[in-house]
Amino acid sequence: MSQESDVRSTSHDRHDRMLIAALAAGDLTGSERERAIALTRSCAECATLHDDLLALARATAAAPPPIAIRPRDFTLTPADAARLRPAGWRRLVGAVSSWRSVASRPLGVGLATLGLVGLLVGNISLSFGSAASAPAVTTGAAGAAGAAPASSTERSRMAGDSVGGTYKDVTTGGPPATQYPAPVAQPAASGYENLGAAIASGAPTGIHTVPPPQTAPGDNAATPPAAAGDVSSTRDAVTDGLFRPLNLLFGAAIVLGIGIIAVSRLGRRPPI
């Protein structure tokens, strides 16, 4: 073990050259400095490296530039100044991003956040509203499909379909649908749902005498044209909601905020 450490300490290739470079630059303190000094004392190559680095630093400082003579004068002419003077959007950028307008960045962030939150809150509430109205629309559409058959037999069959076997019991005059309970949640629920529920509960059905779902005046969900109109009108409401003035205002706030942030960042970028 001690032999290994001896070998390691005398092998220059394994020594930390960066440590020697840091020592030559005067950047080391404490134990690292002591370690580096120990290296330069115990290893001749490390000592040479240290001296070489110091010599190179001196030579670099003393070296003249490779091209010592400035080829031309760099003063600006009035034409240059006129060309370079900020105008238009550059002047705006300068005004927004100058050190004086320290509020430009917070203002931009605030505007963008306000706009984003406003849009989110507005549209979440809007989508809640449309989600609440969506089942009514579906029911209305399905009810309209159920109302389409003309004959009472067909209507009865549909009633049987929709209530899960209740139709057979009804037509055979058997007991009401205790054997074939109606599913609670039946897809394509029609206007006969209430009837199926009535049959399932053993209530007198009188199904042949039950008229098809009546279209109450003003009941949009019950008639096909009105239902389609409701869907489109709901969709229109959503679309209108997106473009309503408040949303436009929030959108404008986001755009304005992002614009101010971008301009202030652009102005703070180091020149060139």
């Binding site: 070489d52 010599a55 091209i67």
Partner: protein
């Protein structure tokens, strides 16, 4: 009540500070004070004041840039573009040292030129092969010493041109221009540790490239 001496003393003790902080950053340095006055005048539209700044710093900036971009024309364009940019961004000066500000702009311009040169590689540093210019020698200079000095300078410049751009910029700013670590970090937009690391690695790289010519520098 308002004329009472107590109030006047109180007012005198706590004056309202309305002075521009930028002009009080380095008030004791006459060069810096002069630079700030020139800069304020240039901001107010005085082109002559800006050109005074140009005259004061064009040699320094050219010497800096030409070490990083050792091509006469490119370095010249770079310095010109740096002054153009400084004029365009007079409003963006946020206090501190005008010299550092101008150096930073010039370094950024030089970095841009170097990046562009990497994208379109041409003959690397033809100016370094130009032996027409020699450093001025003293009247009593020994010819051997002069030749040795010339050779040493050429060797170090060639080695500097061979290391990476970042390392070269850090070494030039530290060893030649005399900026400290913090100033270099601020100029180049990197951390203090990165600046140190670049200088250390750059010096090691210089030594590796000059390994067979280190006798020029020893003793």
């Amino acid at each position: 009540m308002l004329d009472s001496p107590r109030l006047r003393i109180a007012v005198r003790r706590d004056p309202l500070i309305v002075e521009d902080l930028r002009s009080t950053t380095v008030p004791d340095d006459p060069v810096q004070r002069r630079d700030l006055i020139l800069l304020e005048n240039a901001r107010a539209g005085d082109l002559g004041a800006f050109n005074d700044l140009v005259v004061s710093y064009q040699d320094q900036l050219f010497a800096l840039v030409v070490r990083m971009v050792p091509d006469r024309d490119q370095a010249s364009d770079c310095v010109q573009e740096a002054f153009f940019s400084a004029y365009r961004n007079l409003a963006g000066f946020r206090g501190g040292s005008v010299k550092s500000w101008l150096h930073r702009i010039a370094i950024n311009a030089a970095m841009d030129i170097q990046r562009a040169r990497k994208r379109r590689p041409v003959q690397p540093y033809p100016e370094l092969d130009d032996e027409s210019w020699q450093p001025p020698a003293g009247t009593d200079a020994d010819p051997v010493t002069t030749a040795l000095t010339t050779e040493r300078h050429r060797a170090i410049n060639q080695a500097l041109a061979a290391i990476t751009d970042d390392q070269r910029a850090a070494i030039v700013l530290f060893d030649v221009e005399g900026f400290d670590y913090a100033e270099i970090a601020e100029m180049t937009g990197v951390s203090l540790g990165t600046v140190k690391s670049r200088i250390h690695r750059g010096r090691l790289a210089l030594r590796d490239r000059l390994a067979d010519r280190m006798d020029l520098f020893r003793g």
